[in-house]
């Protein structure tokens, strides 16, 4: 997490304050800060982990050392060189099952996330932008979906539609989980549509679809992105839940199916911890990675939320000062009270700037 070098916070008196702009050669266009988002440590970690999940989601089924459903004579083996995550009661390789299961989890998660996001964008922005009757109807619709508990509904629908495929599951999850984002988007659109630039483009006679597509949407990107990530997390957990209850029988391996078998075969009672630990950790790490990306988006949009660096400072007299937003601590070497402005000789550059910045 670093503050962009172009930020004014970087200009520190006594350090060649305006050095950065002067370095730029005249005539050469100032280079725009690209991939700024990636400089956030949380975003970087989250994206790298997510990349590996997607990678294994694509190539997973080809690189499994064993057929995930094939039985063998190594029954309930603990992890070893042959079977990295051990084996099941039928001698199936747990590592292969986890690898193979990545595909359906990633597929359902992202497809459901996409469906829900598209729905929420359409419904949320329409409601927020048009207002009036359309707003009332659409808000009521999304509030109803928001209040009806999604997971029990999903469980019942899935159990009625026997042997749902991954595609159908993604559809069910997506259709039941869009309402929260729609609500957030509607609120955001409401606050944006009265801004000057929107009024201006309306006054110049821009068409509604153009205002929405080119003026509104770009300013909603962060909200939409964080809603998407949130829905993916929810979709992954829902899929695992459905599979764990055992009502998703036909959709191949996924981590929930592994847990379902582990639970059904009393893996606990037999001490076979390797049967359910890897799948659970896989879920947890995927969820953590996605949450990290979401935190990073939040911090990107609202820098205040960044976890502050060092907020406690030792003064020369031995006391400690805690920095807080809105406060400008005055630090001095001398214990005597300072009544008028004067240069502070003991001030370390950067230490006493009221702007909260990263030390690293």
């Amino acid at each position: 997490m670093t503050i962009p070098t172009s930020s004014t916070a970087q200009v520190i008196p006594g350090q060649g304050a305006m050095a950065t702009p002067e370095n730029a050669k005249p005539g050469k266009k100032a280079k725009r800060q690209r991939f700024l988002f990636l400089k956030n440590k949380k975003a970087a970690v989250g994206l790298v982990v997510l990349f590996f999940y997607i990678l294994f989601g694509i190539i997973g089924p080809w690189i499994t050392p064993y057929d995930p459903s094939a039985r063998s004579n190594d029954l309930l083996q603990p992890p070893s060189g042959d079977h990295w995550f051990g084996t099941t009661h039928l001698g199936q390789d747990v590592f292969s099952q986890v690898l193979d299961g990545t595909q359906s989890v990633v597929f359902v998660g992202f497809l459901a996330g996409t469906i829900a996001t598209v729905l929420s964008v359409i419904i949320g922005i329409t409601a927020g932008y048009l207002g009036g009757k359309a707003d009332d109807t659409l808000s009521a619709l999304s509030n109803v979906f928001l209040v009806i508990p999604a997971v029990p509904l999903m469980i019942i629908i899935t159990s009625i539609l026997d042997n749902a495929s991954n595609l159908l599951l993604a559809l069910i999850i997506g259709l039941t989980s869009w309402s929260w984002n729609a609500r957030v988007l509607r609120a955001q659109t409401l606050s944006l549509r009265r801004r000057d630039y929107i009024e201006a483009s309306r006054a110049t006679g821009e068409k509604t679809w153009r205002i929405v597509g080119f003026e509104l949407l770009p300013n909603l990107t962060a909200v939409i992105a964080s809603g998407f990530i949130g829905t993916v997390i929810f979709a992954v957990l829902s899929l695992i839940t459905l599979a764990f209850i055992g009502i998703v029988s036909n959709a191949g391996w996924n981590w929930g199916t592994i847990l379902f078998w582990a639970q059904g075969q009393q893996a606990l009672a037999q001490g076979a911890w390797w049967w359910f630990v890897p799948a659970g950790l896989a879920i947890a790490f995927l969820g953590t990675a996605l949450s990290l990306i979401n935190f990073a988006i939040d911090e990107f949009v609202s820098p205040r939320l960044r976890s502050a660096g060092k907020t406690k400072l030792k003064t020369a007299s031995g006391g400690t000062v805690r920095m807080r937003i809105g406060f400008t601590p005055v630090l001095s070497n001398s214990a005597e009270p300072h009544t008028h402005a004067r240069p502070l000789p003991g001030l370390t550059p950067g230490a006493a700037t009221p702007v909260v910045r990263e030390a690293k």
């Binding site: 109803v144 209040v147 999604a150 509904l153 469980i155 839940t241 606990l268 359910f276 947890a284 907020t311």
Partner: protein, 326 residues
Amino acid sequence: MKYFLQRIAFYLFTAWAAITLNFFIPRMVPGDPVQSLISKFRGQMSTEAINSLYVLFGLDDNKGLWTQYVDYWKQLFQGDLGLSFTFFPSPVSEIIGDALPWTVTLVGITTVISFLIGTSLGVLAGWRRGSWTDGLLPVTTFFSSVPYFWLGIIAIYLLTGPDSFFPSSGGFDSALVPAWDQYFIPSALQHSLLPALTILISSVSGWILSMRNMMVTVSSEDYITVAHAKGLSERRVAVSYAARNALLPNISGFALSLGFIVGGTLLVEIVFSYPGLGFILLQALGAKDYPLMQGIFLVITISVLVANLLADLAYLLLDPRTRKEG
């Protein structure tokens, strides 16, 4: 007051939508589910039960959809949710009535505790930003990414055993009969500790995060600076000025999250074989017991609606701005 009436109207509307949804769900079942059920029970069903099944699945050709819908409502108002297949021939309402107190007690108390702990930790984390409390976030994020039920499995594996204090399943000692006496209540408490802990650990992080973010936002408001300038104690500023104002969004979030919590805790009950709604739902799923499933969904929805209404009331009491609106 007008606001409150609007909310009530909205919840009535939502309840209607949920019930209507519930009416249509069994009608989505492809094929003739009744026939397969009858063959499953091999003639042990009475003609009356078979008839009620046909009515339930909307396969009763004698009536139009509208008449069926009206009949469905009539049944609901009489508290008649049909007969369960799994616990044949007990009515669904009776089975749910037995299970509901368990779920409500477990989930209700745990949710409130989780909310209180999470919110206070969030106040701390937001106020002391930059101290060790920032380390709390990644840890709790990890725990909230873990599915509730998996945490439960791990807890059973690590903490229960033949001579452990924690029982691994059930809601009370099987040797006891449910009653309000000095034997049953401690046993029920003991059995609920581990499920409660599981729910607590995985749900607390959401509260911490949202409260922290609100605290950080509120901390830079002018009135906080004024409070500091007045020389009020740190504690007073943090609690009476910052936290008090930061709390509101968390309260409305509390209401909305109830639906998710209920969904998540169903599985905890399944893992711990806790005799609540989740456990019954699992049995209903196994037996394709549609009347029972429908009944459970209806009860969960209505309890979530009631909880939301209560949260709205609390909001009305806490935030004078909502009162002025009408």
